[in-house]
Symmetry: C2
Subunit: 381 residues, 2 copies
């Protein structure tokens, strides 16, 4: 397989844009990625587009806006991992030699969806979902169990939101850029005990895009790309006995496959964009992605190791928590952040000396678990 | 790139099954494909699933029914070409060496969709769609133009439905197995002039699945596979001036790419499953896929060359016209039919001595054209 590089990255700010259709957001992100790559758009040979809610052929509608027609376009859906799936397919299309340059785009408009697309209500045949095992409920159960087992407090959970707001305050692309205190987090209204509003990632609209190419094409462009060293996509195991619900098996497995593919380990990673959909999630992912032992997540958080200036910065852009989570866009947006960080272009939120980044998304409820699909990427410069 | 073979094929009958969710249909098709391949399901390394209407993570819900968990699953949507897209991704995943054995599944329940998935109404921002440029309207305009240019009659159009019903009457998987006469076709109620009801493909539910593998894996299984010699997926050009609307450019282009990839031409093809969504469509596809010259389609049809016993049999299973068109399933089901025909297992509708088959789907309305995505496959035995 050939090496694959990201030579262009672009995204829209994330926020609530009910009047901007997903293809308008997608166009902006894609155009910025193309400009960033300084590639003639006619050299892009295929498009892989992650989207959940828009209905039919969203990718064609994005690329048509750019006059990029005729090429292969594949629309992919994998719930919260849709964007990572688009990048994964793009990665393999270049790695295999099928194409020399492709784009992966993630785009989603959740607040103004006018296209008759997928509803977010649980499938009526999904008994667990109908009875309340939707994402806030599933993560809340994890949080309660973890609190019971390791004696952590609501204040510990709130610290994740405090840290990610601090990071987001330095990020012009973030939806929420205000600083918050532990007290403010805990005083916001209750959503699913123990999560208050400020512990849940908000709804958002947005888009992100990357241009992927081979080493030869990168040289031809005279670009200095960010290499994709691992691109892993797996689905859940849906065990009847799911084991310990505070150890999300799918994320642990995907990360180990990614480390193995990249020949790197947690000790090499400088920054992580993880799926911090709820405060407990980021704490669990410190552990299952391999950055500390079981029950040590809060200790790692309180040590400062995971915030800007620390050893491995989690959610430098502010994470899902402050960006919001436009489903199809998130996985690509994490990778755009990683590219900017690895190129040293992340401005006030720059992780100094960043050489290796990891991105991680997971989600899609099946049978009361959030483990339909998980995508992990490791990138280096 | 490695050679890729289909070693297992399965499908459900097509029909109206409002009480069978798409994952139940998908499970049946996938299970039959696995049994047909005589492969241990644990050897399947990835799943590519075409579906339009079901909402989130349909593939995971299909494979969970089979206990096939953990592997990479990609859900793809490309309107009428969703199933062909799933096969295309599966093809490249094996051809490239990423995986040795994968499955492609297409599944759709249109009559009993309960999952809050995509609605079929046009995007309110699609001005042409809202004003009536939906599929029956678009094809009706093509038919009227073609009638004007070549002087063909409503009776000529009706002959496509008569032929495809004749084929379907021999196919236990078809939804409509009754014979019809030209008079009956023309007397059915008007849908979009000149199309009467029996000239439009009906709604249907159904699923189809194939197991794809490398040559080495095929030998290991002791199987005799059907080779995929070409797998092409392209999108439309959306020209402001679309040129001659009776020459669907996307289908012409995709077929030429497929012939080139396979090193074969129309003269080598024994049977074609094309996107006969309306009677005029099949006539146009005789021409643009290269089986006769412009304006010669009706002559070819009346010559008997495209019906069972003829030189190149179009729609031996009865086509979309009599099977119905469960969007995500159709592209895979065409390929299942091709596999059965090439293995000589098509029963009463067997194309004698079939060695080379072509399948063709196209669709997805953008800007009043049906050319969002087109998938063409060429298979040989």
């Amino acid at each position: 397989m050939r090496k694959v590089y990201i030579v262009g990255a672009g995204m829209t700010p994330f926020g609530k844009f009910p009047d901007r259709p997903y293809y308008n957001l997608g166009k902006q992100a894609a155009l910025e990625a193309i400009k960033d790559a300084a590639i003639d758009h006619r050299q892009i040979q295929a498009g892989f587009v992650g989207n959940v809610m828009a209905g039919m052929v969203p990718g064609q509608k994005v690329f048509k806006e750019l006059g990029m027609t005729g090429m292969q376009i594949v629309n992919v859906e994998n719930a919260c991992s849709s964007g990572a799936t688009a990048v994964n397919l793009g990665y393999w299309a270049v790695a295999s030699g099928q194409y020399d340059a492709v784009m992966a785009v993630g785009t989603e408009n959740l607040t103004g969806n006018r296209s008759g697309g997928t509803a977010l209500a649980p499938d009526p045949d999904d008994i667990e979902g109908v009875q309340g095992a939707v994402m806030p409920g599933i993560y809340a159960m994890r949080a309660r169990r973890y609190m019971e087992e390791y004696g952590i407090t609501p204040e510990d959970l709130a610290l994740v939101a405090v840290k990610n707001h601090k990071h987001a305050s330095l990020n012009p692309y973030a939806q929420f850029r205000n600083l918050v205190t532990v007290e403010e987090v805990l005083a916001s209204r209750m959503i699913a005990e123990p999560f208050t509003l400020l512990q849940c990632c908000p709804v958002a609209d947005g888009a992100a895009a990357v241009v992927l190419c081979s080493e030869e094409k990168m040289r031809e462009l005279g670009a200095k790309g960010v290499q994709i060293n691992a691109s892993i996509l797996v689905s859940g195991k849906y065990k009847t006995e799911p084991g310990d619900m505070t150890v999300p098996e799918i994320s642990e497995r995907a990360s180990r496959l990614a480390y193995s593919m990249a020949g790197l380990g947690p000790e090499d990673i400088n920054l992580v964009e993880c799926h911090d959909a709820f405060t407990i999630a980021e704490i669990l992912y410190y552990e299952v992605l391999g950055f500390c032992g079981r029950g040590e997540g809060v200790g790692l958080l309180r040590s400062g190791a995971v915030e800007l200036g620390g050893k491995v910065v989690f959610s430098p852009r502010g994470g899902l928590m402050c960006m919001g989570h436009p489903l199809g866009a998130t996985g690509v947006a994490q990778i755009v952040e990683a590219v900017w960080q690895l190129r040293g272009e992340a401005g006030a939120r720059q992780v100094q000396g960043a050489k290796v980044a990891m991105t991680h998304v997971t989600g899609g409820g099946v049978s009361g678990m959030d483990n339909a699909a998980c995508g992990v990427h490791i990138l280096t410069v």
